[in-house]
Symmetry: C2
Subunit: 217 residues, 2 copies
Amino acid sequence: MPAKPQASFKPRKRPVQARSEATVSALFEASIQVLLGVGYRKFTTTRVAERAGVSVGSLYQYFPNRQALITAVIERYLEGLRATIEQRCRELCGHTLDRQITGLVDAAITAKWAHIEVSRALHEPLADIGGTELVTASAIKTAGVVAEVLRSCADASFRDVDRLSLLMVISCSALLQAAVTDETGALDRESVRTHMRAMVLGYLHEMRADQSQAAAE
Amino acid sequence: MPAKPQASFKPRKRPVQARSEATVSALFEASIQVLLGVGYRKFTTTRVAERAGVSVGSLYQYFPNRQALITAVIERYLEGLRATIEQRCRELCGHTLDRQITGLVDAAITAKWAHIEVSRALHEPLADIGGTELVTASAIKTAGVVAEVLRSCADASFRDVDRLSLLMVISCSALLQAAVTDETGALDRESVRTHMRAMVLGYLHEMRADQSQAAAE
DNA sequence: ACCTGAACACCGTTCAAGT
DNA sequence: ACCTGAACACCGTTCAAGT
């Protein structure tokens, strides 16, 4: 009886020679192609290996199982998204709240839409691998940067900035994901921009610490 | 060569005899049990049939494939959730905005948390079957009721109530799903309640049509 | 009208044999 | 150090045979 593979979804080994690096790159590339071409239901290790021009055995030399492969693909995507957003975020330090929020919302929307097909294609595998943890981990990091931005705000200050930023990022990314996979047409890019901005601004106004709120009581 | 099953994820036939109704019920029940017990990865038709005490063949008499089964299970869940929430929504007609929002948020949270284990267990299969459509369809219906409630509001009125309600419902349900599958502890029930309320109220204040906004410019 | 379960195709994963 | 691909276990789905 073969030993159960179990758990560890991390790459099996680091590529140390040029040949193996090429193999891994090809597998990543092929994974995206297969996902976009035939969807996750037909995302089989054989198919990915074939598309990458290597044997299944080679695939399993670098990824202990199918999940590890898809997880790695998703991590790459999330990292790219995060880097893009965070870079634009940092440019917003010191600006007014209105400008910061407009900028943050735009950064998130632009980044997400830049690879919208991939964003869509990854939604299903994301749930399959229990990707909430990955997404949350990514959100936590982004929230850190958002918190910095809010703390530097020229015309507003907030209580509990860290928690507030996290909730904001999580809500926005959940909304973005919904928008990207939406098929009703109600969540088109510009509607999302307008409403996300209103939602975040409204939320932050409710949470401001530096002025008597204009509560609707 | 056997004919391709293809597409139609609808139940294959209506149960017309007592025996078959019992079979279908058993299959639904068994599906939930299997999902809670071993998870979606091991949600196999054989296992479900076995747990239901029938043969695989019987399962395929009522559901053309695995997806049809899981789809039916999810639809049942969504319907239940929707019914519960909408019922509580209707009781909020004519109240003040603050009371309505507090009530709506509470209704959503209470309903979602009432079967939190099932909510969690269904997240993965939901993505697998492309459940965004199902969720959106459900959201559209709920948004209709929410729009009614907002139109009846005693102390506020809004532009574009339908779109606004839809965005609200979709954002909230996305946030709820994130909260329910959260593992960091940042999205506990009470935090979600507080922040969701602030977010919705803030959003609606931004969107009010009946008063000069207290914008932070 | 409904149920059964052996049978088939296909996919994930391994491992002995290669270079 | 890396690659290959036949082989095995397991799962979705069918269908001829039952009651």
